[in-house]
């Protein structure tokens, strides 16, 4: 019978980890803007110099140097 208690303990720990993960996601603001997150994931990663796009000017404005 005691093995049940051990398993229950394990299951509680796993569930607790889920709860902590949920707290973390709330705290980091993942539920604040559901629409924004839903589209952001669909944005393509940058593909530099894709044919057809205009290549940005190489000469940089010196005032914009960081």
């Amino acid at each position: 019978m005691n093995v049940i208690l051990v398993l229950v303990g394990f299951s509680l720990v796993v569930a607790l980890a889920g709860l902590i993960a949920f707290f973390w996601s709330v705290r980091t603001g993942q539920y604040d803007d559901p629409y924004g997150s839903s589209v952001r994931i669909l944005f393509d990663d940058e593909k530099p110099n894709e044919p057809g796009t205009v290549v940005p000017c190489e000469k940089e404005d010196p005032t914009n140097q960081i």
Binding site: A15, L16, V26, Y31, D33, F43, G52, P56, E60, I66
Partner: protein, 830 residues
Amino acid sequence: MKPGEAKKSKQMRSTKIHHIVYFCAMTKNEASVRCFHCGEDCGSNIIQFEEKPFCCSGCQTVYEILSKSNSVEYYKLGEHPGLKNNSAALGQRYDFLDNDEIKSEILDFSDNGVSRVKFFIPNIHCSSCIWLLENLHRLQPGIMNSAVHFTKKEATFTFHESGITLRGLVELLASINYAPYISLESVDKRPKKSINRGVYYRLGVAGFCFGNIMLFSFPSYLTIDDSVEHFIRQNFGILNILLGIPVAFYSGSGFFISAYKGLKKRFISIDLPIAIGILALFFRSAYEIISGSGPGFMDSLAGLLFFLLIGKWYQGLTYQALSFERDYRSYFPVAVTLISDSGQESVLPLKHLKTGMRILVRNTELVPADAILVKGEGYIDYSFVSGESDAVKKEEGQRIFAGGKQMGPAIELLIEKEVTQSRLTELWNQKQSNDTRQNNMESLIDVISRYFTVVILILAFVSGLVWWFINPSQAALVVTSILIVACPCALAMTLPFSFGGAMRVFGRNGFYVKRSSVIESLSRINTIVLDKTGTLTKTHDLDANLENLELKGDSLNLVRSLARHSTHPMSVAVYQALPNANPLPVTDFKEHTSKGTEGKVNNLHIKLGSEEFVLGSRSAGKPAGSLFVSIDGMPSGYIILKHKYRDGMREVLTALGEKYELHLLSGDNDAELPVLLEYFASPEHLNFNQGPLEKLSYVRKLKAEGKRVMMIGDGLNDAGALNESDCGISIADDVYNFSPSCDAILESRQFGKLADFLSFSKTSKRIVILSMLFSFFYNLIGLSFAISGNLTPIVSAILMPLSSVSVILLITVATYLASASAKLNIAYSV
């Protein structure tokens, strides 16, 4: 499609996706070419740039900026994602952002040359906007990082001061048409509206415990042999108590606090019976488990709180990007241009503005305080204050009140009163006391829960007393059972879900309410007060009356050809009203702000504009808002312009007139009385020449007569009346930009649906009553178990979730059906 165009679109198809988008747009609507950037009809002046059509140079510029910085991705994410830029050139508009004091107030954080700032940007509207703003560093390497909060239409930028200044950032945003909304309010008090995440934490804890408690409670509902049962009951029971503590006292803490606050104000809210129920559930279960007399009701407790918190969360969902609490500070600029004695111009934060100072007010800038005009010609547009958009001419030495907008060349003013003491701001201070205003409406749920609680407490007491005589050991059990099943869980779910559902249906249809309880106020009003200018009439569309024009035949086309060249609403109205003919070429065309236009057509000098501009002097007796015409100096009569009534006004007013008592409050003269009289029950209900204070006291008077008043208005002149009424609705062309404080904002295009909204609010209330009856039915079943002493944990564990879920289902289906039959767009999601 012309052969040339076909060839062109063939080329495009071969290259890139956004070309395909363009191709689709073209084939869909071959007659008109749509702007590649904003999607508006390009009309006859198409600007071709890199084989793409643009409607104006503004849209082309934005495209150019984006394509240079390798950001054409913007156009792939949605069809025509841009917005047309209607504002004039930036000029010195953002001068004030170079002022250190203002800068430090606007910036969230600044250290070591790195600054962070958060802006409200009303133009954020689609996924392309998010992409572009978050990739702004491509346009300007000084920007390190940007993040968009779509729901709030906010964007946070982190940038190197050495790479780009705050002013540069704002000007960059404005140049790609995402001008941030910077007003006195954003500087005055940083509204640190921390997002309330508490309900998420509580919900998470309740959900976690609910799941585990159910698991641990399940074995006790099965018949297992005694030794196992004892083992399980003891160990799992203790686990249940441990899990029950955070549910009852953390997740449920909101109900205790609210019940206690209510009691302190001698007020019984729905949260009181809930709080009693939670306590009864917890302590009865703990007692049963510890004494070993039963498995307890912890699963019911956790389920109850889980469902209640879902209701609370749903209720808390509101339109975050809309502001319902605006006051004059949202309209006022952050800074003014000060002119020193030596004639030097400098930027001065508005809060340092004192009487006796000289300031410069440029075209389209707002006059921030009551002042005297000392230099220049004032054409003051008081539409913020009065709702009347015709500019008023002011001569040197005349007084200009705060809130007016200069429509013409820059003027110099001498400040007479400080900002907080001006006429406009005093009007706002008139109606501060929101709590003290007479309230003719008490929330339905409050009334019901008061009787409900009293009845339940009496019932528990009487049953306990009766059982005391029958079987004293059962008395405590019966009393707690009654308190448990009486816990009005389903009842508490009714309001958030039905009014919350209605709120979302309204939102889909362009009617945004502040919170779901406004729906209840809407359903109970019986009197409607309407503003005229800007509410019943359109803000920009004018009707031209040609009766007094002394021109015939070809001469009309001279005026029409001239009017064609101006985009001013008045010219557009004249152009549309004059008979159709081929336009003639116009030379020497000139447009004078707030005065009129002139030009040469067929070698004749045509003037179209104000009486003073055309004829050189003003005469009495001509209606305001008339346009005068002269041909080669010969006066040729005038055109009367009137604001057009909104589409569907007749239907709306007729429908509303059947059910409500209608009143009209207009700031204008009574010229329109004959047109409007038919919609109102008596001429006494039509009131003209009403100032802001008169409007407010009129609404107050109606309320004193016991009427439940809804006010609909648009300008700041209605703000007092809107706030005084039981339900204030402001009507706006752009809901994100401009509206006085109110309970709900109506998109002006949806004005025709107003009667539908009101009748839907009544339907929604009927749904509430229906589902309340439904939940009372469950309570009756539960009470019959409890009073007879038969409430076992399993009955409670079935009955409680069943009642909550079925009530939510009933409401959702009923709201869905009702909105379908009311021909409102249906909201099926949050």
